[in-house]
Structures are given as structure tokens and as C-alpha cells.
Amino acid sequence: MTDTAFVRREMEPTLPPPVRTTGIGAWLKANLFSTPGNALLTLVAAAFVAMIVPPLYNFLIADAVWSDPEGLRGEACRFEGVGACWIFIQARLNFFIYGFYPTEEIWRLNLMFLIGIVLIAPLLIPRAPFKRTAALLFFVVYPFVAFMLLAGGVFGLRPVRSGEWGGLTLTLIISLIGIIVSMPLGILLALGRQSKLPAIRSFCIAFIELWRAVPLITVLFMASVMFPLFMPQGVSTDTLMRAIIGICLFESAYMAEVVRGGLQAMPRGQYEAAGALGLSKPKTMGLIILPQALKHVIPGIVNTFIALFKDTSLVSIIGLFELLNTVRAAGSDPAWSSPTHAVTGYIFAGFLFWAFCFAMSRYSIYMEERLHTGHKR
């Protein structure tokens, strides 16, 4: 009989690793120069970085104008070879954030932000106390309080027309309303699209397909230019309100399709198990199906939110001064003349957009991980 299996009698001692699997040299070889192709790519990438970083550093930091000791304001960045004009941002920061809102009333916006942050924090932080109270206050009471502070006209607050709202404030107002309204509306449309009742189903399909097939710019033009033509004489509604309604309906059509994707991924067994326990259809949806379906499509939902946030910049074409439009307007201010202040403004606006979107993205990844219970081992 021949031995076909080797049976170990004693434990093998731990051996040191073979040479050159640790240390910088080995790391470089494994990660950057493992094949001739990879080595070439590494060199190209290094050359690209070397090409792009120094000019970027010079523009943003070395040649940039950081302070204005002589009080030149608009003239401070007016010289050859100037880098980013940061004092422009500094000087016009209030305009970028609050738009044309009267300076002496800005405390109202700050108060509005403060209340908003205090109420929204418990909703975003898991395990925070007073969740239910905060949700109730945020979704039911806060909209009225915020509107009161914004528009004034009550409790002795000076009225401020919506035309004077602007800057980052307006961007946040539009996108927050858009997000809060389009989410439930999208869920309802998605459920309606799966309804067994033909009238509801056809309405939802028609709604979704109509709004999804129209560019947002068209929607905004229709809302601002064409809609008033259909209204009876003397009835006029606010441009901003019409734009917000347009954005909400537009985004809810997108949201509906994202949610529908999640609903379709739900196995039939979940409906059956819930039904077999005697749960009614609405309870099955609310307790079993939607929590799972929405969790599946968090990336899609946040994708839509991020798109919405950036799409708010389109309201500038109907004359609303959201963040990007205030930056553009400030850039063409004749009091400022320099080769770079306008560009610096756009960089600043771009950075703000990026910061908000990146925060949303990270938060969604955090939520995904927290809610991931399905196949956790």
C-alpha cells in the first residue's frame, strides 16, 4: 500500500516571511511597478500630478490675494499674474449666503438656520433622544416658523419679498423643500404605479412619464412664463413658489422610479409572510416592504437628492438669485475689476456645492452600513 496522504506529526514552526515582501521597495514593486504596463501608468500619472499640482498651488495659495491691508477692495487683485482673489469671497460672503436679504434682518435667517439645525440633528443621529418630538416639530411646525421668519409680515417682523431671498439660503430652501416633498410624493407615485386599480395606476404612469421626459429647464420656464398666462387676470402667484412646485413634481417623478426599483427587488415571500400574519396591506407596506425596499435603494435616493441639490442652480435662468447666480452677479460687479475674482467666486461656489453633496454622500454610506442587517454574519 502506498501513502497517498501526508499526515503531519508535529506542528510546523512559524517561519519569517521570504525576503522582499515587506518594506518600501517591495511595496513599490507590488503596488506601482508590478508589470511593465503598470510601471508606465505610474510614470504617466506621476508626470500628470507634477504638471497639475504646482500651477494649482500657485494659483490657489502662493499668488493668491489673502488680505487687503490697504483697503483697496475692488482694486486689490488688479495686477499681472494674480492668483485667486480670496478677499473677493471675504468681502461678498454675506451676499453669497444671504442674497439681497436686508442686512438688518439677517438675524432672522440665522435664527431660522439655528432652529433647523437643532431640530434636524436628532433626526440624523441614531440613538439621539427626543426623535419623535423633533420629527413632529421639524416636519409640521418648522415650515411655518421658517416661513414666518423668512417672509415676515407677522409679529412686527418687516415683510421681505421672496425676490429678495437669495444666495446659499435660497439654494438650501429650494433643495430642502424639494427633498422633503419629493420623497413621500415619490413613494406614493411608486406605490400607485403598482396599484391594481387602473385609474390610479394610469394616472401615476402618466405623471411619472410626463415629468421625467421634460427637461427641468423647460419645467422652470413653463412655471415662470407660461403658467401665469393661464391664470385669470389679477391672480398672481410667487415665481419662487411656482419654481419650487415645479422642482418638487419633477423630482418626485424621478424618486418614484428609484423607489419602484426597490419595490421590485422585494421577494414575494415577504408580502406573503406579512399577509399570512394578518397584517393589512397598508401595514404590510409600511412595516415590512418599504423599510426594506427603501434601504435597498439608498444609493439611488441620495443620487436623486444630490442631483436635485445641484439642479437648484437652474432657477437662476428664471431670475432667482440662488448661490450660483449671486456669485455670477457679484463677479460682474463694476466695483471689482481683476482678472481672477469672478473665477475665484465660481471656485468658491463649486466648493460649497461639493461640500454639501459630499456630506450627503458620506451620510448615506454611513446609514447604509448602519441599516445593513440582511446578510450580516
Binding site: 421577494p267 415577504q270 409572510a273 400574519l277 450580516k376 454574519r377
Partner: protein
């Protein structure tokens, strides 16, 4: 299926208190037909289940066994005939369907636990939201049933962290938390590894010993022999034979039954 024999519980079953009511009807199916599109899946089904009775439905795959018990809690809709469960006839009236389902527990082949909820939440969801039982009371009941299926230590885990056999026992406990009058089992052990079949069958046997009215679709013939009052054999959407387990296995009447039994009992 050779592994069915060892999966059978060894201890003898005490049948003394497994009383079957003579007058109290739990489920009655009368002249029932069902079609899937053009396919006549259930043909002229007549079945009366008395309270306390334990019925095993056997038959080749595609014979309509699962469809039949799914009709009993209206997961499938029948097109002709009548189904009366606990005195309530199943019609398209949604309210009545929920009423019937509250009193009829169902265990599925693939468990169908709710993966986003912990085991304890799986068990308390329906008592809280359907019966309106206070949370603390529902959790107490749930823990009692988890003890019964011998996995109380898993209460705060998620279904994805449990083995198949444990998940199926949780699914049985979840149904029991609703305190059902009837339990339906749709091939409860078919998706399990052979090692785990016994732990689930043990729970089912103890349930039978307590006098639960049960209808089981299963291929576990050892289980059928041990606890069933009646075995029903289905083929091509019809009940073609029914008998007590002993004569059913030792002396099947119908040719198809003989063939089926010779295939699964070696």
C-alpha cells in the same frame, strides 16, 4: 428520500390527549376549483378538517398540494366553490381575509422571516400591530415561544445570522405568537440541510401533541406516520386517496399512490 427515515423523532408519541373534535369543523373546502390562467391546477377539492386534526398532504411535485393550503389562507384565490375557515367563508372581502389570516398560522418553505427586524421584533410585530397587544406583553409571549423552540438566546440577532433550522423554528414561533387556531405548513423542511430537519420536526411534533389543528404539506413520511390522523394524497390537482397513516402506507389503494410511495420509501 432516504434521509427522511432518520429525521423521524424516535420517542413514542403520546396520542392520548390529541383529541379530535367530532362536531367542531375548523376548515371546510367544498367543490373548490382553481385555475392558473388556462391551467386547471385544483379540481373539485372537498376537504373537511375537524378541530384538533392533523393532516398531512403528500403527492408528487406540481400536484397542487401547496396551492391547496395557500388557498386556505387566501394567498391564492380560488375561482369556484367555497372555503370556510373557522366559520368564515373566504370571499374577496379584504377585511374577512385579514380576519381569517389572523387565526391561521402559516410556515413557509423558505421561512420568509423579515430580515430587517431582529428575531424578537419578527415575533412581536403582528401581535402588536394586528392584535394591539402592548409591547411588553407581546415580548413576554415571544420569549415564551422562543423558549419553546429552544432558541431564546437568539432573540436580539437578525435572521441572516441564524442557521436554516433556527430560522424555521423562529418562523414557527412567529406564527404561534398570534395564537392561531390552525397551523399550515408548506414543506417546512424542504429547504433545510438533513441535519436540521429533525430540530424543526421536533417542534412540529410537540405542537401536534398539544392538539393544534395542523395541515402539513411535507415529504417527511416518518412525520406523517407518527402524528397524522389522516394522510391525503394528491395528483394532478385532485385528492385521489385519503386514509389513516397505517393503512395508507401499508396498503395504498390507488396505482399512483403505490408508485409514489415506492419511489420515496425504499
Amino acid at each position: 428520500m432516504t434521509e427522511t427515515a432518520p429525521a423521524m423523532p424516535e420517542r413514542p408519541i403520546d396520542r392520548s390527549h390529541m383529541t379530535v373534535s367530532k362536531t367542531d369543523v375548523a376548515i371546510e373546502v367544498i367543490d373548490m376549483h382553481k385555475w392558473f390562467g388556462d391551467f386547471h391546477v385544483l379540481r373539485d377539492i372537498n376537504l373537511k378538517v375537524m378541530r384538533g386534526e392533523r393532516i398531512v398532504i403528500a403527492g408528487p411535485s406540481g400536484s397542487g398540494k401547496s396551492t391547496l393550503i395557500r388557498c386556505i389562507n387566501r394567498l391564492e384565490e380560488h375561482q369556484q366553490g367555497h372555503i370556510v375557515v373557522n366559520g368564515t367563508e373566504l370571499t374577496s372581502d379584504l377585511k374577512r381575509i385579514d380576519e381569517v389570516r389572523r387565526e391561521v398560522g402559516m410556515v413557509f418553505q423558505h421561512f420568509n422571516l423579515f430580515p430587517h427586524l431582529t428575531i424578537l421584533q419578527n415575533l412581536t410585530l403582528a401581535p402588536i400591530w394586528v392584535r394591539g397587544i402592548p409591547k411588553a406583553k407581546a415580548e413576554e409571549t415571544a420569549m415564551m415561544y422562543l423558549e419553546r423552540v429552544k432558541i431564546p438566546e437568539q432573540a436580539s440577532k437578525y435572521p441572516g445570522q441564524l442557521s436554516g433550522g433556527q430560522q424555521q423554528r423562529v418562523a414557527i414561533a412567529r406564527s404561534l405568537c398570534m395564537n392561531p387556531k390552525v397551523m399550515l405548513f408548506d414543506e417546512p423542511t424542504s429547504a433545510l440541510d438533513p441535519e436540521m430537519i429533525k430540530e424543526v420536526l421536533d417542534v412540529m411534533v410537540s405542537l401536534a401533541e398539544e392538539g393544534m389543528t395542523m395541515i402539513c404539506v411535507t415529504h417527511e413520511m416518518g412525520f406523517a406516520r407518527q402524528v397524522a390522523n389522516r394522510v391525503i394524497f394528491m395528483d394532478q390537482g385532485q385528492i385521489i386517496e385519503q386514509n389513516e397513516p397505517e393503512p395508507f402506507f401499508s396498503n395504498p389503494q390507488h396505482e399512483r399512490t403505490k408508485l409514489f410511495l415506492s419511489q420515496i420509501l425504499h
